[in-house]
Structure formats: structure tokens, C-alpha cells
């Protein structure tokens, strides 16, 4: 009975809140009824493609914040400025020259291709701002989503715990039942003991079994010892804490930045190259904060926008970029990343051989980096791992004149169509140890 009452209560609450949500949603949408969504959408599109690299609505970037710019400047003034600001300045407009000087003479591109209608749309967008999200509904949905995502884990633990508890309860119940039945049987336990004794005595007498089991134990011991010792220095999965919460997932995954855009030397050099801070600044000069709702799993915690914006600030700090004055201060601090892939000194590995010559995907050795928030060592980097790949991989030599002669001769020698790297000499000690 109680439970039914509870159920009905819950339903009531749910129903009540749903009405409230509906009400708010309705009221909000009714509130925004006088916005011309088509114009807003069009304006936003153009703004994002042409203006957003230097302007934001609510914040100074390279250029001034543009939210409500219509309230500050004449419409025609804006139009002339946007179409060709250099010409406009040359015409001697004081305001134009003033604003140009205020921003240290950084030149804005001219946009003669924009029609008046398009400019109007942009200005309209700067006034009304982004379309307001259906906040409550969205939150509800996203909450549900996140619940769904995290539910299985705790449910599994909970269920597992419940099953264990249940078993224990059943066992104790059975015991109690037995006891209640009066089946207290010390005999049975002594029987079991006796049996065990007999087996042990038999074992003691049987030398063959003794030897066999000794060998077995020794072999197993050796196997496990070898396995354990072999893992020493193998740092598969090594994921040290880095000084900046840099997410490969956001960069290489969500934004699909080419690996070699940042790791530029991979195609030229033995080192893939940790990008210098100026490479970060190529984009982050304009991206001072992450998008709303961005989340990064970092060091066992979930970093949201507040935390992540601080991480971008660390990049500015390293590069010596003053985000308010929009200029470099000249005071730089190199970022001290923690090295993840450590090969011993006596191994020579060359990225360019694998990237440029062999044309390997980075993911082959480094794993699905574009899915990692926190970078880790994917492969064991043991010699066996290297050699296995060299033994199996057939070399694709088409289009490389270097291999033209040698491959044909080797293919003939080994009687194969395509030789492996090992057959090409990639298994010799001296190729990697010098």
C-alpha cells in the first residue's frame, strides 16, 4: 500500500514540474516572438564565417565587442566601415580613424562583396544576439543523457553487490534452516577432514605426483615471474599529469585538426616534435574560451568551461599574450610537458621514416588519440612489438624510386610478391641500435 502511495506522489510531482516546464517554455518562446528568426539566422551565419575570427558579441577580441553596436554607431557609418574601412578612413571620418588607432592600427579586411541586405542582417544579429536555447528542455534532455551514460557503471556495481549479499543471505538462511531441522552434523565435517587427510597422505607417498606438482609449481612461478619482470619498464598506458589540460579529443577529434599541423617535424625528423607555443597561438589568439558545455575528462575529474578557460589562459601565459591589450608582452615561459613516450637512449627511432616514407597513420602506434582527452602511451614500445610489425608489414614501395631496384631483387630472392620490412633488412640490430 505504502509503495503505491509513493508512486502516485512521484507521478504528481513529475506532472506538476512538467506543466511548469511547459509553461516556461511557452512563455519564453512567446517572449521571443518579435525576433525575426530568419534574419537572425542569416546574420549569424555571415557573422560566424566572416567576423568571428576577430569579433565577439560580448567581449573584445582582435577588434571591439559588437553586441548592440547599432546603439553606439549610426547604421550608415557601420555600413561604410564594413564595406571598405580603409577607404572610409581615407575619406577622413574622425570616428573611423579614432577606432582604428584605439586598436593599435590593426587593419580590418574590406568586405565589398557584402550586400546591404547582408550587412543589415549582420547588424540585426549583433543586436538580437544568439537565438535563445530552450534552456529548460535542453537541460532536462542533457541530464537524461548524462544519466544514461553514467548509469550502467553504478548499476553494475550495485547489482553485483546485491547478488553477493543475496548469496550470503541464502547461505545463512540455509544454515539456519539446517540448524532448525536439527541436522547439526559434526560427523560430516570430520568426514571431510578425514578425506582430505587421506588425499594428503596418498600424495605424500606418490613421488611421481610430487615431482610433477613441483615442476608445475616451478613452471607457473617462473611464468608469472617472467611476466611480471617483463612488464618492468613497459609503460603501456602511461598517462602522466600534464601542466595544461590539453585534450586531443577536442583538437584532433571534434575540430579535426590534422596531427601534423601541430606535430610538424614528424615528416622531416626523428622527432615528431612537441608543438611550440606559437603554434597554439595560431588559433588561440582568437579562441580565448571554449564553447558552452565543453567538457574534458582530466585527472579523474570533469573539467567544464570555467576550468578549461583557465587552461587556455595558461597558454597565453606561456606565450606572453596579454588577452586584454591584445598584444605580446615578450615575457615568455616555455611549457614543461611531461614526456610520455620514452625510448631508451640506445634505440634510434625515426618518425619521418614511418610517416613520410612508409605513410603510416599516427594512430597505428599512438592509438585513437582523437578520442583521448588525456594523452597516454597506447603501445608497449617494446622491441618485440617493433619487430612483430616489421615482420608482418608488407612494404608498399610504389612510387618510390629508391626501392625500385632493391625490391625486385629481394622479391625474387625470397620468392614473394611483396617483401616485408624484415626481409628488407628492418630486423638487423644495427638499424636501430647505434
Amino acid at each position: 500500500m505504502k509503495s503505491v502511495a509513493l508512486h502516485s506522489n512521484l507521478t504528481k510531482v513529475l506532472l506538476k514540474s512538467f506543466t511548469i516546464i511547459l509553461f516556461f517554455a511557452f512563455s519564453l518562446s512567446s517572449f521571443s516572438q518579435d525576433i525575426d528568426e530568419a534574419r537572425q539566422k542569416e546574420g549569424r551565419k555571415i557573422f560566424k564565417s566572416l567576423c568571428a575570427s576577430c569579433h565577439k558579441l560580448d567581449k573584445k577580441l582582435i577588434g571591439p565587442a559588437l553586441g548592440g553596436v547599432e546603439l553606439r554607431r549610426e547604421h550608415d557609418w557601420l555600413k561604410s566601415w564594413i564595406k571598405n574601412n580603409a577607404e572610409f578612413r581615407a575619406s577622413g571620418d574622425r570616428d573611423a580613424i579614432a577606432i582604428f588607432e584605439e586598436y593599435n592600427g590593426s587593419v580590418m579586411s574590406a568586405f565589398p562583396q557584402l550586400t546591404d541586405k547582408q550587412i543589415d542582417d549582420i547588424i540585426y544579429y549583433t543586436t538580437v544576439g544568439d537565438p535563445v536555447k530552450k534552456v529548460v528542455g535542453d537541460v532536462a534532455v542533457s541530464n537524461g543523457g548524462s544519466n544514461q551514460g553514467s548509469a550502467p557503471k553504478w548499476i553494475i556495481y550495485f547489482l553485483a553487490g546485491a547478488i553477493v549479499v543475496a548469496f550470503l543471505m541464502i547461505a545463512s538462511l540455509l544454515k539456519q534452516v539446517n540448524e532448525l531441522k536439527g541436522n547439526t552434523s559434526p560427523e560430516s565435517t570430520s568426514n571431510l577432514k578425514r578425506d582430505l587427510h587421506e588425499v594428503w597422505a596418498g600424495l605424500k607417498r606418490n613421488t611421481f605426483l610430487q615431482v610433477l606438482s613441483t615442476i608445475f609449481v616451478l613452471l607457473m612461478g617462473a611464468y608469472f615471474l617472467f611476466g611480471t619482470l617483463f612488464k618492468v619498464g613497459v609503460n603501456e598506458g602511461y598517462m602522466p599529469l600534464q601542466p595544461i589540460a590539453f585534450s586531443h579529443k577536442i583538437h584532433a577529434g571534434d575540430n579535426k585538426i590534422e596531427c601534423q599541423y601541430c606535430h610538424t617535424s614528424a615528416k622531416h625528423s626523428r622527432h615528431s616534435g612537441i608543438p611550440s607555443v606559437n603554434v597554439c597561438m595560431n588559433c588561440h589568439k582568437n579562441i580565448s574560451e571554449v564553447a558552452e558545455g565543453t567538457q574534458v575528462e582530466w585527472d579523474g575529474m570533469t573539467y567544464g568551461k570555467a576550468e578549461l578557460d583557465k587552461e587556455i589562459a595558461k597558454v597565453y601565459d606561456a606565450a606572453g599574450w596579454d588577452a586584454d591589450a591584445l598584444e605580446y608582452t615578450g615575457e615568455t615561459k616555455p611549457v614543461k610537458w611531461v614526456r610520455i613516450h620514452n625510448l631508451p637512449d640506445f634505440v634510434y627511432y625515426n618518425h619521418s621514416q614511418h610517416v613520410t616514407v612508409a605513410g603510416l597513420e599516427c594512430q597505428k602506434c599512438h592509438g585513437p588519440v582523437e578520442e583521448y582527452d588525456e594523452m597516454r602511451q597506447f603501445s608497449p614500445l617494446t622491441m618485440g612489438w617493433c619487430i612483430d610489425c616489421h615482420k608482418e608489414t608488407k612494404v608498399d614501395l610504389k612510387g618510390n624510386e629508391y626501392y625500385a631496384k632493391i625490391h625486385d631483387e629481394l622479391a625474387k630472392k625470397y620468392n614473394v610478391d611483396q617483401v616485408t620490412i624484415a626481409q628488407l633488412g628492418g630486423k638487423e640490430c644495427g638499424k636501430c641500435h647505434y
Binding site: 619498464g233 637512449d345 640506445f346 629481394l410 638487423e428
Partner: protein
Amino acid sequence: MASNKKYWKSVEELKDSSIVETLSKNEFVEEIPTDQFLGDKETLEKTSTSRRDFLKYVGFTTAAASLAACEGPVRKSIPYVVRPNDIIAGVADWYATSIADGYDFANVLVKTREGRPIQIMPNKDANGTTSARVQASVLSLYDEKLRLKEPTKAGESISWLDADKEIAQKLNNLKESGKSVVLLTGTMASPSTDKIISEFITANPNAKHVVYDAVSESGAADAMLAMYGKRALPNYHLDKAKTIVSFGADFLGDFHGGFEKQFIAGRDPKTGHMSYHVQFESNMSLTGANSDKRVVLKPSDQVFALLNLYNAITGNAVASKSTPVDAEVKSMATELKKSGSKSVVLTGLNDKNAQLVAFAINEALNSEIFDTTNSLNVRQGNDAEVVKLVSDIKSGKVAGLVSYNVDPVYTLSNSSEFSEGLKKLELSVALSTEKNATVDASNYALPAPHFLESWGDTQFDSVTYGLMQPTIQPLFNTRQFQDTLLKWSGSSVKYYDYLKTYAAENVLGGSSWNTALHNGFFTAELVAEEATFESTVSVIDAANQLASSAKKATGFELNLYTKTGLGDGKQANNPWLQEFPDPITRASWDNYLTISIADAKELEFENPVKDNGAIDGNFAKVTVNGVEVTVPVMIQPGQAKGSVGLALGYGKTFGLKEEMQVGVNAYPLYNGGNNIQYNVKVEKVSGNHKFACTQVQKTIAGRHDILKVASLKEYNTVAPKDHHHGWNKPSMVSYDHQEVEANTIDLWDEHNREIGHHFNLSIDLTSCTGCGACVVACHAENNVPVVGKNEVRVGRDMHWLRIDRYYSSEVETREEAKELGLGRGEMYEALETEAENPEVTFQPMMCQHCNHAPCETVCPVAATSHGRQGQNQMAYNRCVGTRYCANNCPYRVRRFNWFNYANNSEFDFNMNNEYGKMVLNPDVVVRSRGVMEKCSMCIQMTQATILKAKKEGRPVNTDEFETACSSACTTGAMVFGDVNNKEDQVAALAEDKRAYNVLDYLQTKPNVIYQVKIKNTNEA
């Protein structure tokens, strides 16, 4: 003929010494010193540590060590904030620049990694050559102990601003009071610097520029001035010469900066002709060792022989004296006249009169080899002006001294007079790259950058204009000499801009500055200065003066010389050069008095060989002009009786690491810059000196046919493989009771060597002068450690590449001696007489990369294995240090790491400090204790070449493969390449009729090929 010669490596060998016999059988001369760490029985018994305790400690440490090993250290990876455009981490950049440090001058290429210079190679486009010293100069850049780091005044640090202000003020005071200021520099051979100096002198008319070379060649320059009207050194185009006669001129060494490349260019047996070179000398020099005929003659007799030759050629009759070699001189006169304009006479006597006589002979011969038009600027020092400067400083006539990169307090023979005067000066400023005694004695010490951190220009001869550019950011708070002078002259121009303007206005003639800078040099059209100058001297007078001074010679005659390794001593704190064995004596870390075998017997000097393979020596007190020095004695075969030799450049102490303070300073004996000192007293004094000599340890175990030498006549007329008379006979072995050619039988299966690359290194013994540039290049390229004097002494030197020096004498072999019924003693006696003037042959020796390598077979862990490209590979991480491989190597080229040589304060050389480590090649691992190492045939370089071709999608170009030694080789004696590419030079060399393998009867089938040495014995 080669087979009749006995080759030997030290005088001790001639004495039938049982120790040498024993040593020749051991690969490792030292027993493992178990006693040292086990201790003796008594101490062991006294100790309180019980067996149980010991086991506990062992257990605990093992457990602790393994626990500690479980977790790797956290490494940081710190990228640039703004990456320079032309630096890619892991890719080397090369820059063309020049070295001009006052003694060594060369157009070079510098390899930099991540902004650090790590190697110097010759700029072959600019005809550049490198010596061991030039190769090693990259390490001197990182000498944090000796480099001047900030400006100081009287030892206290001072800012540049204050120093400039104070010095300018003082210079001005001196100018106004009309007191003399002297600018004392070494030879810079830099036209723009000369201009800056002349502008400085215009601004300060009381200033004077004096050029001072520690090791002087003032005689030749003065003679040029008198005879040809310009103060420079004559050039000798030895490549075109037919007959070369040299009286003590070490022109393969440091004479006029060296003519090694030209000399060897004139000695290619393939052409059928070689120049004929006769050397009259007292010391055994590199040049004498490479001569076709070496005439042993003490210095005073050299003077008379030169005069006799002058008389014979010109028909004059200058008063002279007969010498023991009159017959040779006479025949040489005929020979010279026969060769006419293709002949040349040189003399190494630093004496104006002697040079004038030699010039006159060349004029009489109408020599085309002797060139006064395209003259050399590499020694501009003026001894007379230096002598005057010292007396002026002493008398107070000079009130201010600005010195740049010279150390007269160390190098002047009357340095005490100089340093006393220095203290009294009103202004003494030393601009210097390194701390030295002169810097210490001067009031202001202003740091100047190393040449690898500097801008500059050079003009070594009259046609090639070289440029110098920085290859690294300045390591310390330094400022260039030129910038300083410009500032003091009141100019606000930076030297870089000045240099650019100077080059554009005076040299480039509209050509691109960037191209010239990229190439490192610019060749201008030679404006021939017609020699219309009327000579102001009478050669007859000069000859008479020469004769009269030589006639006064009594007692021993001392010939002061410079060593290939240390030169004038500027780089005495460079461990690579200290450890570099002298090409002739094979001794490192020392200078010594070289004395002839006969004189040594008379004065009872000995060089006993110790049972650990090291040699010892006695001390001698040498007295010249009342100055005494006590030096160890080394008995030198081929030293002229009555003469002794001593190297300059050693015994420097100021600021040097203790390990580097070796040898004896010979500069106090260097009176008036004269390399010959007469009336020398040599006495034996007590004491025993320990030499670090790599001479005896590596004997050749009686295998006396590892060298093959033939005469040009034999080469031209005799079939090389002829079984009776051939000069490149195949070895014969007994197989199945039959004499068969060794290469017909084999223990091993053949490798397939047809596919891919197959590397060979060819070494031409005719062109190898033993200069050792390759040894230092190998040091730099392969991170070869320096081990120090004590370790070298016990035969633990780590050089992957050594240059063996063999003496030989034309006497019967042991077997023939037996036939003649000569006892062993008699035979050695016969050898000893020959040792008065032995022939010398150099043989670079490194891992032979045998296709059938004995070392590979015996390695229990397969750490050394054979690569398909012909390289014998050494996996250091696999090696457990059994040293079986070294024992089984017939060439004795494997080196064992007895200690950790990096990060070990016991071996406080370049690998024990942060600066010195910057020179390490990041592509080659630094080996740790307990592993074997050896020449890898620069596998890191061959792999890099292959990778470059692969990346560019093309086959490897002809002659693209190189090793460090082959690219450092000035004369082209070492040629590396792929024998499977028939167009590679080495492919033809491998098939050459001169090609042979060392110890070919062992059938190890080496990938290193030697070319039989051809000597021009001048037989018709």
C-alpha cells in the same frame, strides 16, 4: 720490395725485449685488478663484517636496486615558445664559415643540431682543409672552465657600459698626452678588421698595431718584403711540382699553414708520375715521414747543405762548409736543374737569410711552384716589432696595451720582462675568448666570442675571400673585438653592418651577399700584382751572414717544433687534442725531448717498457742561453745525431684543468722566435717519467705483411700479382699439403652481397699523411670518450680509429738472418743501425667490418652481428662485456668501456659538464660501463643518407655516402661508398690493382680496403 722489410713500432722492439714479446701476445695488457677490490688476506680477516652481514647487505642492495628500477624517471619535454623557422628538432643544419684563430686558418662547414655546433668539416668547395686542431675547435667553444664569461676590471666584474666609458676616457687621456698605445693581436687575415684597426689608428694617432704570432714565421715574411716588396708568405703550388727539396720545412704540418692537399695532389700513381720529394731534417717530422727520401741532418748542417745547393745551382761560391751529405746535395742539384721550373726548394728555418737563399734558388730555377703573387696571409707576425714592443713597455715608452687573443705572458721567451712592464702600464686591456696569463695580468679583461659565435671575413691567400658567421647564440656575455674597436673609435655602426658594407664595396662587386654567406667564400678575379719591385737585398750577403751564424754552432742543436695535436698551445685545454696521439711518437698527453738513438746511448737515456705495456723515460736538463728546463726524454729513430727536438705549446697552466696541465713549456727556450737554437746543453737528471704512449701496446704479433709498399717504378712496370716479383702478391696458405691462394678456401659460408647497398671504405696509404684529422672527426661524430693519461698509459684508449705508424728498415727478415747465420742479437744490431733513419709508413686502422668476422662467431649473446650492407653491427644494449670478441679480433680495433666515462667525476672531461655535453652527437648513444664498442662505419650517417633518398623518392646519388673520417680527410686518402653502385668511386678502388686487405690470409674478407703505398724512389 715489401717482403724484405722488417716493420717495427718502437726502439724497444729492436732490443729483443721479452716484455715486448709477451705484450705482443696479449690483447689486454692489464690483468683485471682483482686484488684491488678484494684486498689482501689480512685486511679481509680484520674486517668486522661477517659473512651473514655481507649477504644481508647484498640482498638489501639488490632488492633496493630492483625496486628503484621498477619506476622510470619522469622526463620533461620542453618545446620552444617560438620555434625558429630553420630549426627542426632532430634535423642537422650546416653553415659555412671560417676559422682564423691566429694559428689555424680554414674554410669550414659547421654541423649544428638544435642550434648547437657539434662538428666541423672542411668546406671542400672553398678548397678548405681541416686538421686535427680545426676539427677539435668545436669542443673549445664549450670550454666553460676557460672561457671568459663577463667583463672584469682587476678581477671584479664590470658592465660593458662602464668598461667602455672608463677605457675610452683613458684612451683619450693617452691621446691628449701623446703617449703611445699598442694594439697587440695575432694574425687575423681579415681585411675588414684591418680596416677597422686602421680607422682606430686614424682616430688615435698615438696607437700602433703590432702583430704577434706565438709560433713565428717572421723570417719568410721579412724575406718576402725585402725581395718582393710585400710582407706575406710565398705560396707553394706543390701539386705541379716534379722535384721538391725541403730543408726542415714541415709543410705537411704547420709550415705556412700546411700544403698537404697540394702535395698529395701531385702524387697520384695512376698518372704514372709522382713528385719526388727529398727532406733534409733533424727531427722526425710528418713531412719527413712522408718523403720519398729522408736525409738526416742536424740544423747547422742543413744551413751548409742549403748553401752548398745554392752554390751548385747558381754557380756562386758562397763560403760554406762540407757536410756529411754533400753527395746527396750534389745529386739533388742535378735533379732540381733537370726538373727546372717544376722544382722547388723550401726551408723551414725561421731566418730571413735562410729564406732569402731559398728564394734565390727558386728564382735561379725559375720555379713555377714558388708563387709570390698569390701570397699567403696566414702568418703576419713581426718578430722585430714584438722585440721592440717588449723593450718599449719595459722602458715606459708605451703606456697602453690592448691585446686580442694573444698570450705573450705564456708564449714570449722573455715573458717576465713583458709581464713586469705590463703591470706598470697606465692602461692594459685584454680582449680574449679564453682566460690566460696575459688576461690575468691585464687590468681590464673583456670577453670575446669564439669564432663559431662571430661574424667576420678572412683572406688566407690573395684570391679567396672567406666569410665567418655565427652558428650559435653567444654562450657568454661576450662582444666581438671589431665591435669594441668600432665603439672606441666613436662609431655607432655594428660590425655586422660594417662587414656587409665592406664586402659589398670592396669584394663582392654586385654579387649577392647572401650567396657568398651561404657558400662561405667568394672567389675574386686575381689582380696580379706584377713583381716590378727591385730587390733591396744582396743574397750573397745574406748567405754569408747565414754561414757565419751557423759556424758558431757548438754543442747540441735544439729544433723547436709544433705538434700535430696541440700546435702553438692555444687549445691546450681541449681533451680531444691532449688525448690525440702524436703521429710519429704515438705519445699522448705529453711533450718530450726527442733524441737520437746514438746520443741516447751516450747520455744513457732509456725508454724501458713496463709490463703493463706503458713506457717510461728519464729526465734531461736542457740549457739554452742560461735558461734551464727539465723534460722527459723520448728516443726517436731518425733524429739527427747531435740534435734534439722539443715541442712548443705544452706546459700551459693558467686556468687549465689539472689533467690538462701536462708537458713542459718550451717557449722560454724560443729565443727571438728562432726554431733552431744552437749551443744547447743536455744532461741526464734523476727521475722517472711515465709516458702515455699507444706505441708498444698494440704490437703486430709478428704478422709483418700487413703493410705493402712499392716503388713507382715497380708500380709502373711489374705485374702486381706476380708470384715472385709482384708488389701486391696474394697470400698463400697450405691446404691439403698444397700451396694455394688464400682466397680460394674459406671457413665460412658466403653472404649474399649483391642486393642493396654494400659499403666499402678504401684507404690509400700513398695519400695518407698521418695527420689525424679523421681521428678527431671520429671522436666528434661518434661520442668517443676521453679517458685521460693514466688510462691511455695502460692501453685503454677508446679511439675507434687509430693511425698506426710503422718504422721499417731494408734488412733481412728473421728467416734470412738465420740463413746467414746471424744470431738474434746481431740481427737486432743491424736493425738498430738502420733505425738511425727508418722509413715511416702510416696505416689508419679501424674495425675492418669483415664479411667473415671472427668477432661475430664468438659472441655468446649475439651482440655483434653482420648487417646486410656490410657493416659489422654492435648492439651495446645486448653486450654483456665478455670481451671474447676483442680477443678474437685480429686487427685489435675493439674498445672496452672499463668505466662510465660520462657523468663521472673521475673522468672530468667534456662528458662530465653541461657545456661539454653540448658537443655530443644526439644520433649516437653514449655507451656505458662494461660494453664493447668499435667503429660502426658511421652507420648513423649511412642510414641518414638512405632515409634522405627515400624521403625524396630517388636512388642514392653517386658518392653520396660518407663517413666522418672520409669527409674529414683532406687528401682524399679515405674514400667511402657503395660497391654495388658501380659509379661510386669506391667500386673502382675495390678492384684497383693496388687494393689489398690486411691479413688477407685469414680470409676475414674485410670491407675496408687498403691501397698499396707507392713511393717515388726516383729510379729511371
